[in-house]
């Protein structure tokens, strides 16, 4: 059976696994944004936290993904369901690019602009919301872009712990020694990654501020 025949026969399942994949990645990215961007901002305000935060995120990134899924298995509540486990692991992986890019983006804002803002009597909050974050936005989006593409690939491994997604086909195909089944998971995953990369890249370019 070739790839086309397989996909045509199983189109409902392909669609379902693709949606599951998008859901796993989407929730994880949203969680990582909600945690990573505030952490990135925090370490620009509180330099002492810089090394521990970035160091921890770095170490998480170096844990092999299968091992991380395994480590988290005994966790209470989280370990009870495969999708919770997968989302937690994916969120942890997405943190580093988000924290790092938020921090780097804010630090890269021209010091003369920040100084002008402070000298005009902007409060720290006004400076952050009206000046620093808007100017760092393109770099932060770049971080979201890197994290999203990374997670779309990593999420295929979530199937190993039964969390679903397009990895199901890859693992099933490997077990069956059937390339068509492997490709039925791999090709949509690659297409999702390219689509996410292109659309977030477009957004990033649109938000890149002009140099003064």
């Amino acid at each position: 059976m070739n790839l086309w025949q397989f996909v045509l026969q199983n189109h409902a399942e392909v669609a379902e696994l693709t949606l599951e994949h998008i859901w796993l990645v989407g929730i994880s990215i949203l969680l990582a944004i909600a945690i990573g961007i505030p952490l990135g901002i925090l370490i620009t305000r509180w330099p002492a936290a810089n090394k521990p935060v970035l160091g921890t995120a770095n170490i998480i990134q170096t844990i092999p993904s299968l091992a991380l899924f395994g480590f988290l298995l005994p966790a209470p509540w989280i370990g009870a369901r495969a999708d919770r486990l997968a989302i937690l692991a994916l969120t942890l992986y997405a943190l580093l690019p988000l924290i790092r890019n938020t921090y780097a983006g804010i630090r890269a804002v021209d010091p003369a602009i920040v100084e002008a803002g402070r000298a005009m009597g902007l409060t720290d909050r006004q400076l952050l919301l009206q000046v620093e974050l808007p100017l760092a936005l393109a770099v932060i989006i770049a971080g979201i872009r890197v994290a999203t593409v990374l997670l779309i690939g990593l999420a295929t491994i979530a199937a190993a712990i039964g969390a679903g997604g397009l990895g199901e086909y890859i693992f099933r195909g490997l077990a069956m020694v059937n390339n068509a089944v492997i490709l039925a998971g791999a090709i949509p995953a690659a297409a999702l990654a390219l689509l996410a990369d292109a659309s977030l890249g477009w957004l990033q370019r649109r938000l890149t501020p002009h140099a003064a």
Binding site: A112, E115, A116, R118, A119, G121, L135
Partner: protein, 257 residues
Amino acid sequence: MKPVADQRPLIEFRNVSYRLNGRADILEDLSLEIRRGETLVLLGRSGSGKTTTLKLINALLSPTAGEIRVDDRAIQQWDVIRLRRMIGYVIQEVGLFPHFTIERNIGLVPRIENWPPDRIRARARELLKVVGLDPQIASRYPHELSGGQRQRVGVARALAADPPILLMDEPFGALDPLTRAELQREFLKLQSTLNKTIVFVTHDLHEALLLGSRIALMEAGRLVTIQTRDQFLTSNEPLVVAYKNAFALNPNPREQA
């Protein structure tokens, strides 16, 4: 209404020092009075402490010793945000916000002070005229303007909320000589109509003599002398003479050397 002879200083430095940990003093035992309505020029070479002095006034830096008073009140007793909003600040790099239009750049302080939008709009246009720009450019972005235009917008932004004090840190330093001369002329016009207290930093003696009512000469973190323009021209103070030689202001500069 202007008080007839308000001779109380608006800004006062009392034995102010500023140092960074473990390094020599950047500013040492500075005492200085800046009078209402005057334009005091801080003149000196790079690293003499001029910019530090300026940043101490709007509390971008805090002194390590001594006291700074603004409007008869020690700077620590000011709400720093309120203090900064009554001090306009213009720097060489301009520091316009690249993601805001010109109008929004100028209107930023009025906006956070909750002025009604049409008043902000009118104010921005009025100020563009004051600094010699076409109000039409209000909707443009900073990167669409020339260096001279951007610097004018920088001045307009500093004037937006009508602050009584203006701090200017080599505002014309990065401009070509013709544009600089143009802006200096406009500055003189503004100075005579706006009645602000201005502290102006430069290393250019010509600019100092053109714009300042008094000149404070600084060297290596210390105030060497503070003199009116006329006193400065006739002074025999060695460093003043050195400056005048460097700028060829002595009648026979070659004989002096």
